[in-house]
Symmetry: C2
Subunit: 208 residues, 2 copies
Amino acid sequence: NIPTVTINRLCIYHRCLEKIIEVEGKEESIFISSSKIAALTGINSAQIRKDLAYFGEFGKRGIGYPVINLVKELENILGLDRKWSVIIAGAGNLGKALVRYKGFQKRGFLIKGIFDKDPLKIGKKIGHISIYDVKELEKFIRDKNIDIGVLVVPAEFAQEVADKMVAGGIKAILNFAPLRLTLPPEVKIHNVDLSFEFEGLTYYLNLC
Amino acid sequence: NIPTVTINRLCIYHRCLEKIIEVEGKEESIFISSSKIAALTGINSAQIRKDLAYFGEFGKRGIGYPVINLVKELENILGLDRKWSVIIAGAGNLGKALVRYKGFQKRGFLIKGIFDKDPLKIGKKIGHISIYDVKELEKFIRDKNIDIGVLVVPAEFAQEVADKMVAGGIKAILNFAPLRLTLPPEVKIHNVDLSFEFEGLTYYLNLC
Ligand SMILES: NC(=O)c1ccc[n+]([C@@H]2O[C@H](COP(=O)([O-])OP(=O)(O)OC[C@H]3O[C@@H](n4cnc5c(N)ncnc54)[C@H](O)[C@@H]3O)[C@@H](O)[C@H]2O)c1
Ligand SMILES: NC(=O)c1ccc[n+]([C@@H]2O[C@H](COP(=O)([O-])OP(=O)(O)OC[C@H]3O[C@@H](n4cnc5c(N)ncnc54)[C@H](O)[C@@H]3O)[C@@H](O)[C@H]2O)c1
């Protein structure tokens, strides 16, 4: 019963701490105060303490939170310390780029198969991962108990492919196609729009 | 001298209001309170009022903020109400997917050219945009006064291509290559890691 917005903030705290470890190294002795996290993330420190308190007592009064330990706790809460099985629907430009990107595997997201409707692509491989006929998507998800489906097909086919994922029992969908999908409430959805990545930049350009 | 974290929060408020307009329509008569924005974004309402107050008095006490008006104000502050010129370095899988995605143009990010070192790609087009030799990158940025460079080349070439962008006078870089670039302080950088898009999803999967 934790609010979604709290979970989204935990992801922000986790990334913030990861950046600290990148710079300072994996020192057991590094502590961070909620006011320092507040300065780095912009979320007010009382909110940070309240969010973390949902899950346990991680900090020591007067000293702060041990960075290495808190990262591990957050990874456990967010499910980032385990492996998730993923399929990619659409072996086009974006699909190919995602399959080859090592960042997913590093974070525990293992791509198990790619699906497409183009006969010229079916039967081929990208890296060591096979491209299957999208007709087999539902059965593959069920048989291999796939957790997450990534949707990188053209918008006009996205709903029909998403329906196949749902029929196979997918638990969550990462959607790149520019449309709002209609999904049953038990399937978690996250829509990606890369144009949002420009937003922080243009404020500063506006100042020049 | 507005803190970066305030700007990042403004982007969050902007997206939140956009979602409201998507659902409720562009009604002049819709108002929203800071506590409603707080419930939708997870940022505490006093922080929201403080952030917006940096830029002006947008709300009416007791009634809240007029949604349409506040979106326009935020777009003006964030530089989203004007056009920005963009080049893409790397005409590979990710580069091609970004060039063809209509979401960028819709938000005012106009791709002016693509650059690559592969002789088989130079001289071709993606959509109506030409692929140029990366050797011409610096001159193109200077002559056409390009604002933003998107870096979608393999990691081992990313720093050298970023240096060319900087030499041409680029103002900001959106980096997809998995490495930390060394850039002069006046060039704004934003690193994208799509594996972060999975993070909110796995919390819920962990509960199942
Ligand atoms: N959200 C973003 O920021 C963003 C950025 C870039 C692209 N996109 C979107 O991502 C999607 C993919 O883009 P792309 O550049 O890879 O396109 P693409 O045309 O290169 O690839 C699409 C692939 O989907 C396959 N396909 C078509 N119908 C199918 C079906 N019914 N079942 C299975 N496969 C099917 C095609 O055969 C092709 O291989 C598009 O919807 C595009 O708008 C989104
Ligand atoms: N951050 C993320 O979430 C994410 C996701 C997917 C891919 N990536 C990264 O994006 C980058 C591009 O991925 P891709 O799948 O498009 O790779 P790709 O191999 O398909 O494309 C790379 C392109 O860069 C060109 N190139 C190589 N050296 C160059 C140079 N010196 N100057 C100009 N062009 C040059 C190549 O000719 C090729 O066209 C990679 O670094 C990859 O790791 C990141």
